[in-house]
Structures are given as C-alpha cells and as structure tokens.
Assembly symmetry: C2
C-alpha cells in the first residue's frame, strides 16, 4: 500500500496556496518545493479537476484555492491525487473454486471486504478532520511562527507586478 508521491506535493502546495490571494503559477510552486515543474503541474491539474483549486490562465495566471483553507480537508486532497477507489478491492473470490457461493447469495459484501472497508473509513475519518488551515498552523508552529510569513514574503517578492 503505497501512496503516490504527488500527494505530498499537493498537500504542501495547498498549504502554500493558502498563503496567497493572487494566483501562483505551478512553476513557482515547484521552485519553492524543489520538485520537477511539469510533474507538480500535473498534480495541480488533478486538484483543479477535483474542484479544490481554480486555474487562472494568462500572463499573471496560476492556481488559487477555491475555498478557504479551513474548508478544505486533507482527505479531499488525497482523494483528488490518489483517486477515490478503496485500497482493498474485493474480487469476490468467495464465488470462485469448488465451494464458490452462488452470486445470488452474495447480497452483502464479503466479511473480509467489510473489515477492510471499516479500516479505510477510519483512515478517511482521520484525514477528514484535518484541514489545510490546520496543517498551515501546525507547520507555522513548528518553525516558531515564521514559516508562513516567509512563504508569503517569498511569494510576493517573486511576482514583479506585486513587489
């Protein structure tokens, strides 16, 4: 069970976007985080399809959060990048083999699938309780309260029409 690396970049990217009102280009986010620019752009496109960020074309375009950071959960970001399919996919092997139960009796999911789904729900609930704003606050606290201010300064310093 490996989560895509893009999830990490998307989460950090959302935290960064939460510090800017003006659009931030994908290339700039990639520069800030030290990631391949084209691949970071790919993740942002996925976030755009999921409705988490809005893309602004044009010369001073870029990406912006569609909602306040406190209204975006980590679960949404993870699902946008990694997909919504559950980690455990039951292939109904109980219907296979010499003792396979007929499909008509399989009215409810397999007990094993139910257990795995319950675990996944617990995981999702934990992520749903955390917002991008929470993450930004936590990161800021870890650095003594200077990290987010530094991000804001760097973002504005890099946009010539703003600084």
């Amino acid at each position: 069970m490996k989560l895509s690396n893009g999830v990490e970049w998307a989460l950090h990217g959302c935290v960064t976007l939460s510090q800017s009102d003006s659009p931030v280009p994908a290339a700039r986010l990639a520069e800030l985080h030290g990631t391949p620019p084209a691949y970071m752009a790919k993740q942002l496109q996925a976030l755009s399809r999921a409705g988490i960020v809005r893309s602004t074309p044009g010369q001073v375009g870029g990406y912006t959060l569609t909602r306040p950071a406190s209204a975006i959960t980590a679960l949404e970001v993870v699902r946008a990048i990694d997909g919504t399919e559950p980690a455990y996919r039951c292939t109904e092997i109980r219907q296979q083999g010499p003792l396979g139960v007929p499909a008509e009796e399989c009215t409810r999911p397999c007990a094993i699938a139910r257990a795995m789904a319950a675990a996944q729900d617990a995981w999702a609930r934990a992520l749903a309780q955390i917002s991008i704003a929470d993450l930004a606050t936590a990161i800021d606290a870890d650095s003594g309260g200077s990290a987010m201010a530094g991000v804001r300064r760097w973002l504005t310093a890099g946009t010539p029409h703003n600084g």
Copy 2:
C-alpha cells in the same frame, strides 16, 4: 493507494487454514479459491517469513497457522503481504527549495507527515481489532452457519490419507 491483491488471498487463506489442524498445501488453497497456484504459494511464503504460518515439507506437508486464529490479527496478515512501510513517505521537501529549513531544525516529523501517520495509525488500529477467528465467524454467519463446515469437509475429503 492500492493494496496488493495478495492480501485478499492471504486473508481468505488464513481463514481457511483456521479450519484445519493438518497442513494444507498451497496448491489446495489455490484450488479452493480459484487463484494461480504459484502466486498463492508466494503469498504463503510471505506469511511464513512473518511467522504467521508454518510450512511443513514432505509428502503430506503444507501450511498451518502457528497460533490460534483468535490470536492472529488482520493487521498482521496485511503487513506480512504488503510490507510494514507506511503509505505516506515524507521526502522532507520542507528542506528543499529556496525556503528550505535546515536539517538541524527538523527535529520532529513534518506536520503533514504527522497527520498522515495519525490516519495510518487509525487504519492499523481498526485492523488490529479484527482477528482471523472473527473473520471466520462473520463469513460463517453470512452463509447461515454452513460455510466453515463445508470448508472443513472439503479439506478432509481432499486429503486421501484422512478420508
């Protein structure tokens, strides 16, 4: 985040093994579940390395659970097949880029990594609460109490020296 298909086979296999005192060959388990024999054997080898099952060589050999089914958790089986590494691996991108924080200040994990780890813990706890015996009981209940008896009958019927 996709979980290996072998997890499903391993879980079903452990439930089946819990119904037999004598060793069950991998090929027989594969036949019962309708899976590729060689690949099912691969999963059982992983379970053996993890100490969940014990392999018995020889003509009437096979695999047996090392402990009562009530003492084997679903988490152990999943970890044996899928590995113990967490789904989210922090690559410390906070140390990258122009605003990278020096490594000496990274005394505790990144806030995002902490959030993801907490979610993974919730997932693990949910799986740790479920034993192979619980799964067997649930599967049996789904079939009106006949499934496990059928498995036991099929296992003994297939072993010529027992039936």
